[in-house]
């Protein structure tokens, strides 16, 4: 009896999870619109590419901040690692972009795995400081090892063709944007799948209350380490894309402002539903483009003002309003299910 009851519940749960995991039409529209932008506006394709890469970077932060609730100010560490891994490969003659991308992500993932245990202890403040410290350490390391990284001069290199067919770079900026688009889409789909898997649900439980999640039998430490490594790999992929499509890397990849900017993007777009990073990146870079065209020196002022306004008005309320308005558009992992 209880077994039958159990399987019935499991069945309903399964059906519910499958229903939630389905792609909705607004999502299709979203991705088609992005693709159309790349093809229809060739004059701004470099900007579009920047948005796509930044979107992937923000997505990487969403995996730990939005899904798991871990605050990090050091995501730039993995961006820089991925970028330098891809750039060093290319400057040593291994110019295949796909290989560089995989290497960038792998190097960052290993670094994420190595530093993740630091996140398991202490308070949010400790985590902020540890992540920040790791990215600054790596930046200093890149600065000191000029023989490998080019030091303060950065690295210049040329890239091969994607899959041996499509040249990217200055001669093929549209190809570069399309390449970024494909990578972003594939990785996004994977993240979406991940967010709706039992693993993703466990992460949501950890975000809501780590102590209770542990009491439910979730191995919280293991999950946090795993998602941090995945997030690092995403950031590394973003870094590799950035390096490959701009064909330059420099030390500012490790800077504090990279980590802060990506957090702003995610917050502007809204954390926790995966599209937030992409939307936030688009808004952020678009805003920066518009404002800095008007006042090149002072655009940060307006970003700062926007941020303060967001916090004071209450991110939760804004998110709730936005979610009501767009309940069609956004699929919503975990949050709201219990309500």
């Amino acid at each position: 009896m209880s077994a039958a009851h159990g399987s019935k519940t499991t069945g309903r749960l399964e059906a519910h999870l499958h229903r939630r995991a389905r792609w909705r039409w607004p999502e299709t529209v979203f991705w088609l619109a992005v693709l159309a932008t790349i093809i229809a506006i060739p004059s701004r394709v470099a900007l579009t590419n920047e948005i796509l890469v930044a979107g992937l970077f923000a997505l990487s932060l969403d995996l730990i901040l939005g899904l798991t609730g871990i605050v990090s100010l050091g995501q730039a560490a993995f961006l820089g690692l991925g970028a330098y891994a891809a750039a060093i490969l290319a400057s040593r003659g291994v110019a295949d972009p796909t290989l560089g991308l995989v290497c960038g992500a792998a190097v960052a993932a290993v670094a994420g795995l190595a530093t993740a245990p630091l996140l398991l202890r202490g308070s949010d403040l400790t985590r902020l400081m540890v992540t920040l410290g790791v990215s600054l350490l790596l930046g200093e390391l890149a600065n000191r090892n000029g023989w490998l990284t080019g030091g303060a001069d950065g690295l210049n290199f040329s890239m091969g063709k994607v899959l041996g067919l499509f040249p990217i770079g200055f001669t093929g900026q549209r190809n570069a944007a399309l390449y970024s688009f494909v990578v972003l889409f594939v990785l996004f789909a994977a993240a979406r799948r991940l967010a709706q898997s039992p693993f993703g649900l466990a992460l949501a439980a950890i975000r809501e209350n780590r102590l209770r999640a542990g009491a439910l039998g979730i191995a919280t430490s293991g999950r946090i380490v795993a998602i941090y490594a995945v997030s690092a790999a995403y950031a590394g992929a973003a870094g590799a894309l950035l390096a490959q499509t701009t064909q330059i890397v420099s030390l500012d990849l490790f800077d504090f402002h990279r980590s802060a900017d990506v957090m702003l993007m995610l917050i502007i777009g809204g954390a926790g539903y995966l599209y937030g990073g992409l939307i936030g990146a688009a808004l952020f870079i678009f805003l920066r483009d518009v404002i800095s065209a008007a006042t090149p020196e002072y655009w940060e002022f307006w970003i700062g003002a926007l941020l303060i306004a967001l916090v004071l008005m209450g991110r939760e309320r804004i998110r709730a309003a936005a979610a009501r308005a767009t309940s069609l558009v956004a699929f919503r992992p975990a949050r709201g299910d219990t309500a």
Binding site: S123, M129, R144, Y298, F301
Partner: protein
């Protein structure tokens, strides 16, 4: 050797005054205030402008370098910060990053992006020799002033009624409130003193760091945070020892092993956080 040690101590003392306010807001009140450097920048600007534009002597500008940021601090505390005392760390981080992002262009807009120099008076430049150790007079001045401030703060916190009230308010704001302590006012005063000290530190540091410029709040943000993190979040003495340790290690490291000098403070911080997540000099209890 001793000269370097002394320079390190002076740098550490400077760090302490700069970060002591943060060790109150962040350490005691648990508010992640990434905008702390803004107050230091304001103090530095006050001194630099009063000296360069109005010709006021260095010493006479220091009180203003304390008071102006303190007033600014109270104004911001009353209007914005207090709403976020109970907020989640992420909101505090975002809000204070927003403040920093706004403060830098404002400074840039009114004062330009070139560093504002503080020219030391003649009696503070130059150096002297004590027992065969060469000591810069300004470093000596810094050590003296900062030492006095540290001692005063410690006595203030431990011995005075206000200090006791502050510690009570920090430990449990509701109970303190119930006991008739005006928690709101205590926090406002603590915030003002912290901001003022940051300003004073900025004024004293201007010469050492080569002038105050709009990027000051970001350039030293990390250093401040490291001081508080290493010192542990419990009071003045921890921050003092943390700052001295960092100052000496940083100066000595940059002198003896320049190839890795830049790593040292980050390395110290990461190792500290691994071994003692609550800070080197934290109280025993895991709060």
């Amino acid at each position: 050797m001793l000269t370097i040690l002394f320079d390190g101590v002076a740098y550490g003392m400077l760090l302490f005054v700069l970060a002591s306010g943060l060790s109150v807001t962040l350490g005691l009140m648990n508010f992640i205030n990434l905008a702390h450097g803004v107050f230091a920048m304001v103090g530095g600007y006050v001194t630099a402008l009063m000296m360069n534009r109005a010709g006021i002597p260095f010493l006479a500008t220091l009180p203003a370098a304390f008071v102006v940021p303190a007033i600014l601090g109270v104004a911001l505390e009353r209007t914005f910060y207090r709403r976020l005392y109970g907020a989640r760390p992420l909101d505090q981080v975002l809000f204070t990053i927003g403040l920093v992002l706004m403060a830098m262009p404002i400074a840039d807009f009114f004062l330009g992006d070139e560093p504002q120099q503080v020219n030391l008076p003649a009696w503070l430049s130059g150096s002297t020799t004590v027992y065969g150790v060469g000591i810069s007079l300004y470093r000596l001045f810094i050590v003296t002033v900062c030492g006095v401030i540290a001692a005063a703060l410690q006595i203030f916190l431990v011995k005075t009624r206000f200090g006791a009230q502050l510690r009570a308010a920090v430990d449990d704001a509701r109970v303190a409130d119930g006991l008739g302590i005006n928690v709101d006012r205590i926090f406002a005063v603590a915030f003002a003193v912290g901001s003022g000290l940051a300003g004073l530190g900025g004024a004293l540091a201007a010469d050492v760091v080569g002038g105050i410029d709009p990027s000051f709040p970001v350039k030293f943000l990390v250093t401040f945070l490291i001081v508080v993190t290493i010192g542990g979040s419990n009071g003045i003495l921890g921050a003092l020892f943390g700052a001295l340790l960092l100052g000496v290690l940083d100066v000595a490291g940059k002198y003896y092993v320049p190839s890795i000098g830049g790593f040292i403070i980050y390395g110290v911080m990461v190792v500290t956080l691994i071994l003692r997540p609550q800070g080197l000099f934290a109280r025993g209890d895991d709060r």
